[in-house]
């Protein structure tokens, strides 16, 4: 078991003929993902490494039964690409694109209310259920299939670091996903935590936050009220100065809100196992999750 994607997920790639789209479509397919279609308007009828390309998401879904989309469309057109996936009633859209204007994402987010599609991202590394399906740009090889740990993060390479440490400790992962570094994201920590809570294979969760917004605080409160599985938390940006955007559009302390200290405090108050030192994260997880393994 895993969350959101598994070995039955059928993936299409929006922007498959672009450089990034091509490269990562191949990587995903090589990992074992069922990449069944690509979409590039005007290139319908072509093939990319044997993967059929369509002019629209709707057509691709109809012809190939794709139910998840990986989006590599440049920022000016990415919001519309997400809306096209929503319009085609996809189950999942994973938007890798970084740099989408925030007003575009406000509109997308509001337009998705009440719709079936789950959006992961944008500005995210994607999602992987090790051994089953990878939709995103993360290196597949660092993952270890079979659980028992779920990983959810706002970051990219920092997530790989976390996963790598888990794998080094022999702790496999059920699903790892980055929800994205932008202020507006489709899927929240709480959405993922809820899914992990319901996933029988997941025994514990690592949650990797960073400065900016209050998603970690909200998640911590949710965990205290709803989560029975242990959660290890880490926050990046303790040393970040206020008022500066630390790479990610969403990683900024402004008006005294969104500090790492406040997030860590919220985690501690809500019985999350806080990891103070990134170097020790794997070992801490080993301790905590070993206790709960059945």
């Amino acid at each position: 078991m895993a969350i959101f994607i598994d070995n039955k997920t059928r993936v299409l790639v929006q922007g498959i003929t672009g450089k990034e789209g091509q490269f990562h479509s191949r990587q995903c397919r090589d990992y074992g993902t069922r990449v069944v279609a690509g979409v590039t308007p005007g290139k319908g009828g072509q093939k990319m490494d044997g993967i059929p390309v369509f002019n629209s998401v709707a057509e691709a879904c109809l012809e190939t039964g794709a139910n998840a989309s990986m989006i590599f469309v440049p920022p000016p057109f990415a919001a519309e690409a997400i809306l096209e996936a929503v319009d085609a009633d996809m189950e999942l859209a994973v938007c890798i694109t970084e740099g989408i204007p925030v007003l575009d994402m406000l509109r997308v987010k509001q337009a998705m209310a009440g719709k079936r599609t789950r959006l992961i991202g944008p500005n995210c590394p994607g999602i992987i259920s090790p051994g089953a399906c990878k939709i995103g740009i993360m290196p597949g090889a660092i993952h270890l299939a079979g659980g028992p740990v779920g990983v959810v993060s706002r970051s990219g390479t920092l997530t790989y670091e976390v996963v790598h440490q888990l794998t080094c400790e022999g702790l496999g992962q059920t699903t790892c996903l980055g929800i994205g570094g932008d202020p507006i994201t489709g899927t929240s920590f709480i959405d993922c935590l809820q899914a992990f809570a319901e996933d029988p294979e997941t025994q514990g969760v690592v949650m990797v936050g960073e400065i900016g917004g209050n998603a970690e605080e909200e998640a911590a409160a949710w965990i205290a009220a709803n989560m029975r599985k242990p959660v290890v938390g880490f926050i990046a940006g303790l040393s970040a100065p206020p008022g500066r955007r630390m790479g990610h559009a969403g990683a900024i302390v402004s008006g005294g809100r969104g500090t790492a200290a406040a997030k860590l405090a919220a985690m501690r108050e809500n019985h999350i196992h806080v990891c103070e030192n990134l170097g020790n994260l794997g070992r801490l997880c080993k301790e905590i999750f070993s206790e709960v393994r059945p």
Partner: protein
């Protein structure tokens, strides 16, 4: 991207939002002619991107031409220190002469993105001229907030809430409503992440006017706002940050002594935190992006070495798909090109990590491989005595 008050006011003017008459001045020599042409009294305002200008002496009022000349001479070229500039302050390269307005009431009005609710929040208060965070803390009941769904736009009941809760005089309702609508349209049209008018003046004759204007444009949207993007004033940015941006590097200068070069923003922040945990201070945030090519590493080195405070460097690259032998060769070649002499700790991860370490060890350069993050931290602790 922040823009100057006078630039924001120009956008206001184009959007039909009333602002006082004003004149911009960049050169000392222009002052006398401008002063002669002004209606008095006049405000002289330093155009800097940092807030808190008034307390720092960056805003002065002049009742006579002589006073205006003195004030302008004083402000233009001064090193203005505010809470947001740091101790060294920032040089005032532009001033705004602005007609002083007779007002009977000051309001506060701002619009910004609410990331939790994914909408646009309008914040208003009867206490114009005051810092809104202070008002929020001390008299939260005097603050009105309205959340606007960008798909629906401003609705009548939302405008009414502002008017009722601000307890506006009936005579002001119409101009206030018009102003809020125009400002909201400007917010959307210009992809703002923030607009703030503090104070928003109600004048003696019940017109309404933006006396100050703060505006931030979403960086991600600049591709569709070329005109605004072109007005960006780099002169107030850190020179290294400007140089880094020109290379597509995401760099922020800090006060410490250990430079870092990382791929990925989250890992870069976490790396700064590790440096601090090692007992030293990070000199910067530097995200070279997911790819981490030799060229990026070389440019990163150049930026880090331009900071005289840097006494050691920590490279933390989680390659994943990237092969470590290729990365190591890139680091060595870049280090040679920039004639690197500072000690460097390299922590890398990816395929062929052992070969990569060998390449670093045999490079003859001051490059030390860390086996993992904790090892890197101990190496950093040792690096700077």
């Amino acid at each position: 991207m922040k823009i100057h008050e006078y630039q924001a006011k120009e956008l206001f003017r184009q959007a039909g939002i009333p602002v006082p008459d004003g004149q911009v001045c960049h050169q000392k020599e222009e002052i006398p002619a401008l002063v002669a042409s002004l209606n008095l009294p006049v405000a002289i305002k330093a155009q800097v991107l940092a807030g808190g200008r008034g307390k720092g002496g960056g805003v002065l009022l002049a009742n006579t031409a002589e006073e205006a000349q003195v004030a302008a001479d004083k402000i233009l070229g001064m090193q203005l220190v505010t809470l947001q500039t740091g101790e060294e302050g920032t040089e005032v390269k532009t001033i705004l002469f602005e007609q002083a307005i007779a007002l009977k009431k000051e309001l506060y009005l701002s619009m910004l993105i609410d990331r939790e609710r994914a909408d646009i929040v309008i914040i208003a208060s009867r206490d114009g001229g005051m810092d809104i965070e202070t008002v929020a803390q001390q008299t939260p009941e005097r603050i009105v907030t309205v959340h606007v769904n960008p798909l629906l736009g401003l609705l009548g009941f939302q405008l009414r809430k502002l008017i009722f809760d601000l307890d506006l005089d009936p005579a002001v309702k119409k101009p206030f409503t018009a102003l809020v609508k125009k400002l909201f349209a400007l917010f959307l049209d210009s992809d703002c992440s923030l607009v703030e008018i503090n104070p928003l003046a109600i004048t003696a004759d019940n017109t309404i006017m933006a006396l100050d204007a703060k505006m931030e444009i979403d960086d991600n949207s600049l591709f569709r706002h070329r005109k605004i993007a072109a007005t960006h004033d780099c002169s107030q940015d850190d020179v290294l940050e400007v140089a880094a941006a020109a290379h597509g590097l995401n760099y922020i200068r800090l006060d410490g002594s250990i430079g870092s070069m990382v791929n990925g923003a989250g890992l870069a922040m976490a790396t700064m935190d590790l440096i601090k945990q090692a007992g030293v201070e990070p000199a910067n945030f530097l995200d070279v992006g997911g790819g981490a090519s030799a060229e990026m590493v070389e440019n990163g080195f150049r930026i880090l070495l331009s900071d005289p405070n840097v006494r050691g460097i920590f490279i933390n690259i989680f390659g994943g798909i990237l092969r470590c032998d290729i990365l190591a060769r890139g680091v060595v070649s870049a280090a040679r090109k920039v004639d690197l002499s500072l000690p460097v700790v390299v922590r890398m991860e990816g395929t062929n990590v052992e070969e990569g370490r060998q390449i670093l060890a045999h490079s003859g350069l001051n490059l030390t491989s860390a086996h993992n993050l904790n090892h890197a931290v101990s190496l950093l602790t040792a690096m700077v005595p």
